[in-house]
Symmetry: D2
């Protein structure tokens, strides 16, 4: 299988470039009987959509998704689901100047070297625009997980540059333009972003995502552990450079007597592990974090070179996010949903006989 | 494909439990014509092997690997390679007391819940003993990458608890029992570990791995990016809770003008990206880090429960590493080698026509 | 991976129902740099299209394919190729009467049982209309195979009911409405079909497909032999009940001294094997045959039952092929092309080092 | 995934050459809790084993299988199952004379061309000896299918050269050396084989395999239809050149009014389809046939050439089956079992919510 698919039993395959005719995806393996309509996907697409706040790119796309197959009379049929979003706001003219230029921090150079040619318009396939289809597919997974198993998935911006959330209140996340869970810091974020925009620079961020009500038992050791597949899915999002499960890099300085989650018949007494033990979900909330680098498309000049091997100075004008991390929140949710959905189906395949989704000793 | 395989064109599938008869693996897709013998694997197996220093578990296994197929007259034939390591030092009696006990921080509870039964001896399939086969398979990948493409892979312990490497000198790594690259800190490590052992506790660690001479072009966007597959492979190692590529979580507080790697016709001027741009290798060294939690098998008592739902105190006696991170160094190398090997073959499959492994503009 | 994808390095994934909004597919893994436009696909789509002769269904679809991604400035870019065909002639009203009816010989019953619900309009996903996307994807494979390797693929109707081709002349195939290679039997076919149509019945057929100029070495033993994957691809076409490679079922009564293809330094002296030895292409033409059952949609009444478990008589009116085998010719070509393309890429992945596509001893 | 694996949720991966140290396989995805011991496999291994009658090769292997992992206290644990058969009767010296010779009808030439080198001893990986592991893995699938779902799988020799079974009585199959279901023809078979052996020639055969009690709903359209995957599995057995489902090639001359299986509330009234409709099991018995070519290893001389491109006459001495079809019976059963097992798990993954394994209208 080539690189544009993810999953084994719930398989999402995508296509589409930033300035091509359309983006699309095929979901293969969705269980039949799930009520599904475009509204289920549109909400998350709108959350990811550029142009929704003054801190994300001003590019405006309706991002209206169509369901082309796999749904009949409002329900999934078990056959492959085709989804499509047409690109309406393409503005190819913006990009002709970078045809022969390798923008630093972008994939221009590596795509050119790998394939020998590339669609240079807006980054082509390497543009984060591609993630719109992940969000659409993730919304299908989210709906199934919620409807059938009560699993909920929520993402938030846990840090933007030097500003990090201290009092995490998930009910705040949708109430501000930053998906930020700590309302005491919204003003600081506003000010930071205003200054940043003025300077023409960009900033990194940390995004967290949590899944609650996940049954114990998901994950396929030894290679397709649940945490390994989450790491694959999150590290595969544009600009991500690090992934953590639970305590993440804090474990480096932890002692064994501190970091293990003690248990009692009532359940676990802490969740340092982030809901995964030995690569298998423990029934506790799944907690993952990811680090996103600042976008490289900034108006601060930077040296690069051309395809002809000449020195060139790059100054990016046009519509770009000063912090790509913000819009990555619904993408992280989508990817976690796709991974959990796939593992739910994989677990079922092997373990229908044991009643393994019901904890044997009354724990959750 | 179920969870005991990794890779798509270079596929490694493993079996074996800590106290079963044997560990084994099948390598499918290895190119023909590679000179291969057991010595190629034994060196890395010995580096991973327990009992090689007083700071790793005292369990002693010869860990002698046999090549059962796929090699004829000293060369790989292109058919599947079968490898086997017999378990000689099993001591099953050590483990009967944990039959009904869920050790905190271990996979006992999740395996029991997932499958409805488990091989409780030494953690069964969830034991890190399983990684011996990864090291053997990784050695085959390493040899091919080195022989045919000059790619070299080196791992090291970059941090153990509070002690981290400042002056990284890879030539030091094999000269001490910690795979530590900073010789000025070996005494401190010795002392730290001695105290730790006395206290019956364990400690986390950070392991880094670097691949040099990697051609530009490896990685399959949008899901099977090189960094995503590295994250999958490293997060799938026992006890790993975090993975970073290049600057990793440092990017959260970076500005775009700082973190992008500027280019000139002579090449990149820095390597914040860790050798991966847009999910494709850039020709720079690949640099990845992983965080390993402290082993949960310690002699400090910890509360847990039994399979019957009763409270139980766990005190682990017997042979256990106070820092599992140390022995994880060759495992990390093996996993990176397997990922690079797989991506090399995947890249070839699609891109033989463009001469894409030779940079178009003379860069490396 | 679920069932709507085929291939491992050249992967085709499809969606779409007979009366849905559109059919589509994603091709993942196509090498970059291939010149590609809709005309390359349209020719084969037109050959498969219904309504082109009075012996195929009168349903009229333009079957115009759009390339939505993966092609830039006329060449493939190596990223995933999205293809779309909108359904323009849907006539859903024709099918409301079969909502609760299980038509004998159709997939109505099995889809209902498998998924618990189904899109009953025109057979939904089980309709042969789905194969339009296979033809489009196959055309991409065909073009690559032809352009880069000189491989040509030709199909023909070798038998229709009692009438079989005796003098096979491939230049005749496109000159008649039956894709029949024996011009001496066209009149007989015409007469047979006219009578058949009058009787309201249908008839089975045998379709053959041949690939020439295939290099020696394609096929991945022991399970993904070239012939095994051809069998998978052809048996997966609607209505196919048998597949043969080379002499096929004739070998049952052959002696070893008859059926083996003797060799000389000039090459093979016969091709009983159909171009595959030990699951690997031998450099001789690949020859495969498939048997297609008569369509079950006929106006001769047949007993069946309803979803409510009641007896019902089925009489199919409307637009149906009296011999589905005829239009299966371009589908068989497409599937063979997809299999060869995938195996070409798979072979490359493992065997770039040996110069294995050039026969070592000058044979072809 | 390379070619030595089969299945997606129940995955069997094999290794081993005819004269290597051992054959082995890994079964990944077997449900936990299945009682399993070597006796479950040994019975079928003995049925396949050479040297059991005077009409199969005189090579004598104990073919004793060991379970190395995945089974604990007599039950499968859900982790990967490692199986091993050591090669005890290797007699490498027999084969040195064919080192540079391409035996006609064998895979010597294609392996040499594909990989650039080959293990020439007894055909190396291309030897049918490899199928022993398929039989072992198939026995695990058989046991699960039988125990949990009551599915039974039986193979038989339906034709040997000109002699075919007319009165099919499955109770006869194990009572003669030919797996032949028609006791009235055993004498004729005996005589035919005696004459054949005298002449130094070999003969083709047809093997049939039937699965009863298969639930409706197995098969994953549109590419991984149940019949397509059966065709893949059977065509992938050494020497097979044709595969049929149900009426197979007879459908070519059938009319639609003859070949469709009419239905009533009591069930289907015939089984022309061989238990598969639209690629999905119908609940009727699955019936498949395969054609096996005569072995090419005969003492009748045949012209070939050497690796140096010189003419050579080939006369095969040593131990070879005059009819490889006979021993293929347990192999066909094993492959059908593996396919059904895999599809059972795949079906479960997607369709746990609909109670689809129970026919909705009381049919079976």
């Amino acid at each position: 299988m080539s690189g544009n698919s993810i999953g084994q039993n719930f398989v999402v395959t995508t296509f589409g470039e930033s300035h091509g005719k359309a983006l699309g995806c095929i979901i293969d393996g969705c269980p039949p009987g799930l009520e599904l309509n475009v509204a289920d996907m549109q909400a998350d697409l709108d959350r990811r959509r550029p142009g929704t706040s003054r801190y994300t790119t001003a590019r405006r796309e309706a991002d209206e998704v169509s369901i082309l197959s796999g749904v009949f009379e409002g329900k999934t049929t078990g056959t492959s689901i085709g989804l499509l979003i047409e690109n309406t706001d393409q503005r190819s003219q913006d990009y002709s100047n970078i045809k022969d230029l390798f923008r630093p921090g972008h994939a221009d150079y590596t795509y050119q070297q790998k394939y020998g040619l590339r669609d240079y318009r807006g980054g082509g396939r390497s543009s984060a625009r591609e993630t719109a289809m992940r969000v659409a597919a993730g919304a299908v997974a989210k709906k199934y997980l919620k409807t059938v198993h009560g699993i909920e998935i929520h993402g938030y911006l846990s840090q933007l540059g030097p500003i990090f959330a201290e009092n995490i209140d998930l009910t705040q996340v949708e109430k501000n333009a930053f998906f930020f869970p700590d309302k005491t810091k919204i003003d600081a974020l506003d000010e930071y972003m205003r200054d940043l925009k003025k300077s023409g620079d960009s900033i990194g961020a940390k995004v967290s995502v949590i899944a609650t009500n996940v049954p114990v038992g998901l994950g396929e050791p030894v290679f397709d552990r649940l945490d390994a597949d989450i790491a694959h899915a999150l590290m595969g999002i544009n600009a991500v450079k690090g992934v953590e499960i639970g305590d993440g890099f804090e474990v480096v300085t932890q002692k064994g007597s501190e970091g293990r989650d003690l248990m009692s018949p009532k359940g676990f007494e802490s969740n340092h592990a982030g809901g995964v033990l030995g690569g298998i979900s423990s029934g506790q909330p799944i907690l993952a974090h990811m680090a996103l680098k600042p976008t490289s498309s900034i108006s601060v000049p930077g040296q690069s070179m051309t395809a002809q091997g000449e020195v060139a100075d790059v100054v990016t004008k046009g519509r770009h996010d000063p912090c790509v991390g913000i819009r990555a929140v619904p993408i992280a949710e989508a990817m976690l949903a796709i991974v959990l959905m796939d593992h739910l189906l994989r677990h079922r395949a092997q373990n229908q006989d044991v009643n393994s989704l019901t904890p044997v000793i009354g724990m959750r």
